[in-house]
């Protein structure tokens, strides 16, 4: 990257995802089209995750149908779909974390020399955490498992051949992450940790969502958004499988098959993912995506373990696959038919709106950055933005809580320091409308006080574009 996150501009997440995006943008774009490329990268990560799930399902059960069903249970899950249809940092860490777990499973089952594979797995785990910090439970769970579980190796051998290479690979990846703090340690710590510990609560209280922290709200959230379709089906399948296992008196055989296929690793990762999803912060569906991933991954392991139940086990899984996959598949099909009309694609609509914005600004003959909390539109048009607002609304909306000197050191801007920034560098245009007025009012006030002329934007009725009027050049004669 020619500009470095934290040191040169504000970014409120772990550093690797923008690095990945910047690399892909450099390869595949020429100053615009970022939104399309970012969405395509997300799709590629989704396909990679599905392929890995298929491969693991096939390896565990020897059946491609189970592998495909596992992929479908993942892709059709209401925990996962919001991440697929986004450019957020959801699918990339998912694919990398699953790659790491696949490597660990391979190394454990393989016997023989495993050091290189485990080192690579450790490196991938560090990258997954670097892409989304919530995945920190995966290295913790994997390390605990490889130290505790037997795998037919003595503890010392496990330590030397599995745990140590995993730690070395993880440390190497961790050093890459820490390198982003060089020259900007305070920003690195604030934007990765302190901000997330404090500001989401501050903001939600500010807009009156104090019930986010009440048990009643959490229960409602779980019922309405988490315990749906695929997730609910898999959990019900697990409950029925336990009952069937006890009734048929095959518990010991099932347990042995579970242990031999490393199901405890996958199931404990699913459990840890659920625990980490409940870390104290306003709950959002994306925090439950890792749970959706490891829950889907547990399906082939359960299918394999329930073989002693014979046809009952197979029937149980066929039923679970059909009912679990049906809602998500129907949603995908409905969306697929709608997507046949390419003019309605969001990437096309955003591109059209961006070109409209660019043409309107060019027609006015003014120059300067676009002042906006929705930078995608300006960037798509190849127009510059303020780096201080590169985090969109997320830093700006609570930045007044910080001293002005801290805001400046974080490369950010607050409503209180906005005027000073705009005096140093006036904008060519102001684009608002995607955020509530409570956040965007300082931008609107500036545009109106400076006599900017307001117009609309094609395809987005809520967007308001204010363009600076071209001043007559002062007569120097």
């Amino acid at each position: 990257m020619s500009s470095q996150v934290y040191r040169d501009f504000i970014y409120l997440q772990t550093p690797l995802y923008p690095e990945l995006l910047a690399g892909v943008f450099r390869l595949l774009t020429n100053g615009s089209g970022y939104f399309l490329i970012a969405r395509l990268l997300n799709w590629a990560c989704t396909i990679a995750t599905c392929a890995l799930l298929w491969g693991i399902g096939w390896r565990i059960t020897g059946r491609h149908v189970v592998g495909f069903g596992t992929s479908l249970l993942f892709a059709g899950s209401s925990l996962v779909i919001p991440g697929i249809a986004s450019t957020r940092n959801d699918m990339a860490p998912c694919a990398v974390a699953l790659t790491a777990v696949t490597l660990v499973l391979w190394a454990i089952q393989r016997g023989g020399r495993t050091r290189g594979i485990m080192a690579l797995a450790g490196f991938c785990l560090a990258l997954a955490v670097g892409l989304k910090v919530i995945y920190v439970f995966v290295p913790l769970g994997v390390m605990a498992y490889v130290l505790i579980a037997d795998h037919g190796r003595q503890f010392r051998r496990r330590l030397v051949e599995i745990a140590l290479p995993l730690a070395i690979g993880g440390t190497a990846g961790g050093l890459i992450l820490l390198s982003y703090g060089i020259g900007a340690w305070d920003a690195f710590l604030y934007e990765n940790y302190t901000y997330h510990r404090e500001m989401p609560f501050v903001w939600h209280q500010h807009i009156g969502f104090s019930y986010f922290f009440e048990a009643r709200y959490l229960v409602q959230f779980l019922i309405n958004q988490v315990l749906k379709d695929t997730t609910l089906t898999i959990l019900m399948l697990m409950a029925v499988a336990v009952v069937a296992m006890c009734t048929a008196k095959v518990r010991l055989r099932v347990w042995r098959r579970l242990r031999d296929s490393d199901a405890p690793l996958v199931l404990s990762l699913a459990g840890l993912a659920l625990v980490f999803a409940f870390l104290p912060r306003p709950p959002y569906i994306q925090y439950f995506q890792p749970f959706g991933l490891f829950l889907a991954l547990s399906v082939p392991f359960l299918f394999n373990a329930l073989a002693p139940l014979g046809q009952v086990g197979s029937a149980l899984f066929v039923g679970a696959m059909l009912t679990g996959c049906l809602p998500g598949s129907l949603l995908l099909l409905t969306n697929g038919f709608r997507a046949l009309d390419t003019t309605n694609w969001i990437v096309t609509t955003v591109q059209r709106a961006s070109q409209d914005i660019r043409q309107r600004i060019e027609a006015r003959g003014v120059s300067g950055p676009v002042l906006t909390l929705s930078p995608i539109f300006a960037l798509e048009a190849g127009l510059p933005i303020y780096r201080e607002l590169s985090a969109g609304p997320f830093f700006f909306r609570t930045a007044d809580r910080l001293p002005a000197a801290t805001v400046e050191s974080l490369k950010g801007v607050s409503p209180a320091t906005l005027d000073a920034l705009l005096q140093r560098q006036p904008p060519a245009a102001v684009l608002v409308g995607n955020e509530p007025d409570i956040i965007e009012q300082p931008l609107i006030d500036y545009a109106q006080s400076q006599g900017f002329e307001e117009s609309t934007v094609t395809g987005f009725a809520q967007l308001r574009l204010f363009i600076r009027p071209k001043r007559e050049r002062p007569d120097t004669n």
Partner: protein, 95 residues
């Protein structure tokens, strides 16, 4: 020993027979083979359909403000964008 030879020959003849049966099977695939082939083809088609449906979802689903900072940070890191005279690396956007 004399009896061993025919014993040895016997299985060899049977193996030839089994080869013959295999040849017949390859020219007229068994129902099981056909079912397996159909299943494989079906799975390949289903996988392609899933990939396309996921692509349709990725390209057409609405946009959320959550996506803004990721694209912006990636683009700022890329630093290719900008109209002539409005480039990001200008003093305009440096804090």
């Amino acid at each position: 020993m004399p009896t061993a030879k025919p014993d040895h020959v016997g299985p060899a003849i049977n193996r030839q027979d089994s080869i013959g049966v295999e040849e017949t099977a390859s020219s007229h695939p068994s129902r099981k083979t056909l079912a397996a082939t159909d299943l494989s083809s079906g799975l390949v088609l289903a996988a392609v359909a899933l990939a396309l449906l996921l692509l349709a979802l990725t390209l057409s689903h609405g946009y959320s403000h959550d996506e803004e900072q990721y694209d912006a940070a990636g683009a700022l890191g890329d630093e290719q964008s900008g109209l002539p005279g409005l480039h990001l690396s200008s003093d305009a956007t440096l804090s």
